[in-house]
């Protein structure tokens, strides 16, 4: 990782589930709130591991981010009809599996614009349909799927809790370390004053 003067020129190395690495510009990566929260301030040694997602998916996601770098700030979901030709091509050339992978990755990376466009696209599939027509469009979840989903979410919540606890512990330690010299200073001053007072009273 380098750190030239212009932030848009900074390149980050991303590692996919296959272990492959590729470059992504800082400007594109900063559209991910997850990245901003995890690496922006502290930096990263070596490639950033997004190993839950394959290279093709990550490249697709960052292709979108690179493209939307120069767009205005995101201000809520756009109507599908307002999407540019490039956006439409981007979505149309994906098959269903890739589309789902992109939503999952975008959701994990917390890229609001991409997630919202993908969701609007799904909602469009259901728009204006009655119950019977909807049943044909979507796969209904089985009990096992729902159970598995719930378990994954519980695991995620537990992992997030652990990370938060660790972070809190680390923060506490840092605070203690920072406070030590001040406390020592106070203690030293107090000792000096006590000694002075004692010597004065002895006189």
């Amino acid at each position: 990782m380098t750190s030239p003067a212009s932030s848009s020129e900074v390149k980050y190395l991303i590692e996919s589930s296959e272990g492959n690495t590729f470059d992504v510009s800082g400007a594109a990566l900063r559209q991910s709130n997850t990245f901003n929260a995890m690496f922006l301030n502290i930096g990263a040694d070596g490639p950033i591991p997004f190993t839950d997602y394959n290279e093709a998916t990550l490249k697709k996601v960052f292709e979108y981010c690179e493209h939307s770098v120069n767009e205005e700030n995101y201000s809520g979901p756009k109507h599908q009809d307002d999407l540019s030709k490039w956006d439409l091509n981007f979505f149309n050339e994906m098959d269903q599996k890739m589309f789902i992978d992109v939503i999952n990755a975008s959701n994990f990376l917390d890229i609001e614009r991409l997630t919202s466009y993908c969701c609007e696209r799904i909602a469009r599939m259901l728009r204006g349909k009655n119950t019977q027509e909807m049943i044909k469009v979507i796969t209904l979840p089985t009990a096992e799927e729902l159970e598995a989903k719930q378990k994954v979410e519980e695991k995620k919540a537990a992992a997030a809790k652990k990370v938060a606890e660790k972070a809190a512990e680390t923060a506490e330690k840092t605070e203690t370390l920072e406070e030590l010299p001040v406390q020592q200073l106070v203690q030293t001053t107090r000792n000096k004053l006590t000694r002075k007072y004692l010597s004065f009273s002895n006189e």
């Binding site: 959701n107 969701c119 799904i122 349909k129 979840p141």
Partner: protein, 329 residues
């Protein structure tokens, strides 16, 4: 993407984002696809800040469930016995910027289908207010069943409106005895002179047309702020008694606005057998009617309550009936 889309393999946030971009019609249809989907939708809508609607249950020739969202947008689902209307959807914009998106659903059994729809809607959405508009003579044999059903779905309703032309004392009484109305009541329904009104005192606003059954005692016990009475049997002497009771703070303490019919326009002297002041009609006054609303008044007859509050009375005609209007400020 021709294969069925595995919506529920998406992360929860994405599913919620999809739901949030859907209209109530689509959400209702989606919730009917499976119990599990209904459960997920319910969890999202009941915790979401954006899912707040007012619910209107309208028992008409085509029973209707209407969800009123923000910006005066109404999503209406009408149950129809006309097969050709099934799935028909019409969007229209009306006066005062109100927008109506209406979808018709065909059913041979209107009431049962309406009940199923109400159940689904109440189950999945979170409502701020619940309003019932009951055309009491459209399904006379099912009125009690409808009341029982509404009672089973909601502990109380904010406002209720009755409409009807046939004398239906028993059904109206049954409704009022079983369903708690918390704010407003409007009755444009024909009732016998012996109709017994079970709940009246605690309502904030009430409109009765005709109020042939209303007794003077019931009338002076009204505690709300807005009262609109047409066709009451009160004499001018009784209206005078009411005004005197109001001036001495013995009744209608919260009253802000009153309309009441005058049965004998020749005896206004009897009504105003009390201290009053006639205001110059060229003088314009501004009265505060609620926290942020004001009203401009010209002329009228002022009467004063013992605590200094002013009531301004005007007279108006509605057809051949004279009305007394009183604004309190």
């Amino acid at each position: 993407m021709e294969k069925p889309f595995p919506l529920f393999r998406l992360p929860r946030l994405a599913i919620e984002e999809v739901i949030s971009t859907m209209s109530p019609f689509e959400i209702i249809n989606l919730s009917k696809t499976s119990l599990k989907i209904k459960y997920v939708i319910k969890c999202f809508l009941r915790t979401s800040r954006n899912s707040q609607f007012d619910l209107q249950l309208i028992m008409n020739k085509e029973p209707k469930v209407s969800l009123r969202g923000s910006e005066k947008m109404y999503f209406e689902l009408k149950i129809t016995s006309d097969k050709t209307k099934n799935g028909m959807r019409i969007y229209k914009e009306c006066l005062y910027n109100e927008k109506f998106d209406t979808l018709w659903i065909y059913s041979e059994n209107l009431i049962d289908e309406w009940m199923n729809l109400v159940k689904t809607v109440i189950e999945i959405f979170k409502f701020e207010k619940q309003i019932v508009i009951f055309h009491i003579d459209k399904f006379p044999t099912r009125n009690k069943a409808i009341v029982d059903f509404i009672k089973s779905q909601t502990p109380s309703i904010e406002c209720c409106e009755f409409q009807g032309k046939t004398e239906t004392d028993e059904d109206v009484e049954y409704f009022l005895n079983n369903i708690n109305i918390t704010n407003g009541l409007s009755m444009t329904v024909k009732l016998s002179d012996h109709f017994n009104f079970p709940q009246f005192n605690h309502l904030n606003s009430c409109s009765l047309d005709p109020a042939n059954w209303l007794t003077f005692n019931q009338f002076i016990q009204f505690k709300g702020s807005h009262l609109c009475i047409h066709g009451s049997p009160f004499t001018s002497y009784e209206l005078n008694q009411f005004l005197i009771l109001w001036m001495t703070s013995q009744c209608h303490q919260n009253l802000r606005f009153l309309i009441i019919n005058i049965n004998d326009p020749q005896s206004l002297v009897t009504i105003f057998n009390l201290p009053f002041e006639i205001i110059n009609p060229n003088v314009e006054r501004i009265g505060r009617v609620s926290q942020n609303d004001t009203i401009t008044l010209r002329g009228g007859i002022d009467i004063k309550r013992i605590d200094g509050v002013t009531g301004t009375i005007h007279f108006k005609w509605r057809g051949d009936k004279m009305l007394l209007l009183m604004m309190v400020f």
